[in-house]
Symmetry: C2
Subunit: 196 residues, 2 copies
């Protein structure tokens, strides 16, 4: 499959990501994608194969974006595990502008929209969420070893719980929740995790 | 607008609900809807007006279903407010079979899929979620007055938090989470709400 030059590829993937993230998979018709990506039909199919394959590539592109802008500077690199987790929530929910927050998370959007219709694409999004869950798990285990999580707590359960909290917050964002609502939900949600 | 006979109307709305709930709004094409509802095009448009109006009617139908099968027997009628809330989670996440759980919640699905494309339909789903949030709020306030919620807790925040928890759990269900995962997330999630 011929590749577009790198600089074009990044830009067209950014544009495809914007459309899929905002409008979802089904509502992003090929004609909308062509307009958004500024490509003709032949270039789109020769570079990406199909709408489903394009979406799969966009999921990778989104993961790379999150790693660079969210995970690496919080869950991965912050030394204290409790601060790593709280800084993740701060960066995820208080740094992006309102319009980006209103798009929710592409992974959860894909799981919600596509689990029954496009199970392979939803499955790929689910794998990414599982990868994030493992990041939470690793830092929670470390926090427990440092005595910052109650020794009776089930770390597997807390990792699943943090994923549910993120997914729930993303849905609140799509509902237009303001920062005060997000703040109090995060405060309530994290109060069960760490020893106060 | 002519109405179908009551018995037909319930049945065709059940069938439309099944399709929208499983496949989402955009992927439920008119031809799929006609097959699922066993109607011809003329009857569908004369009875429901348009796909968007049909979806709006289906949202009302889903709310009536939830009131009858979920809210009335938990949040509305259980006397003790803590039991009312815990029974809501038990009934919502452990009674339905796996295939129904995997559909998630039609309101959150609509908010996730349609907030940017069909804001009126997403807005209607959001109003329903707000109504559920007010049910949580009322019972939480009662629990606080009974000393079962810490007197320092912000009840508005806890009501938003419970909605986020439900939305997150619905996303886990769409990801295929098993009952053990749902159980530990609910246990972790509710442990912050009531005085232990």
């Amino acid at each position: 499959m011929p590749r577009l030059p790198e600089f074009d590829r990044e830009e067209v993937l950014d544009n495809a990501l914007s459309l899929f993230w905002s409008d979802g998979y089904e509502a992003s018709s090929i004609s909308k994608l062509l307009r958004a990506m500024n490509l003709n039909r032949g270039s789109l199919y020769s570079a990406f194969g199909s709408k489903a394959l394009l979406f799969s590539t966009v999921l990778d592109h989104y993961m790379a974006y999150l790693q660079c802008h969210l995970f690496n500077c919080t869950l991965v690199s912050v030394e204290d595990p409790c601060e790593a987790i709280t800084s993740f929530f701060d960066k995820a929910f208080f740094e992006p502008d309102q319009s980006q927050l209103a798009n929710g998370c592409l992974f959860f959007n894909a799981i919600s929209e596509l689990s029954n219709n496009e199970p392979e694409l939803a499955g790929k999004a689910r794998e990414s969420v599982h990868w994030i869950r493992q990041l939470f798990y690793t830092r929670l285990l470390e926090a427990k070893q440092l005595g910052k999580v109650d020794s009776g707590q089930d770390i597997e359960g807390l990792a699943d719980y943090l994923i549910a909290l993120v997914a729930g917050l993303r849905t609140l964002c799509k509902s237009g929740a303001n920062t005060a609502v997000l703040r109090r939900v995060i405060d309530a949600g994290l109060s069960t995790v760490f020893i106060r």
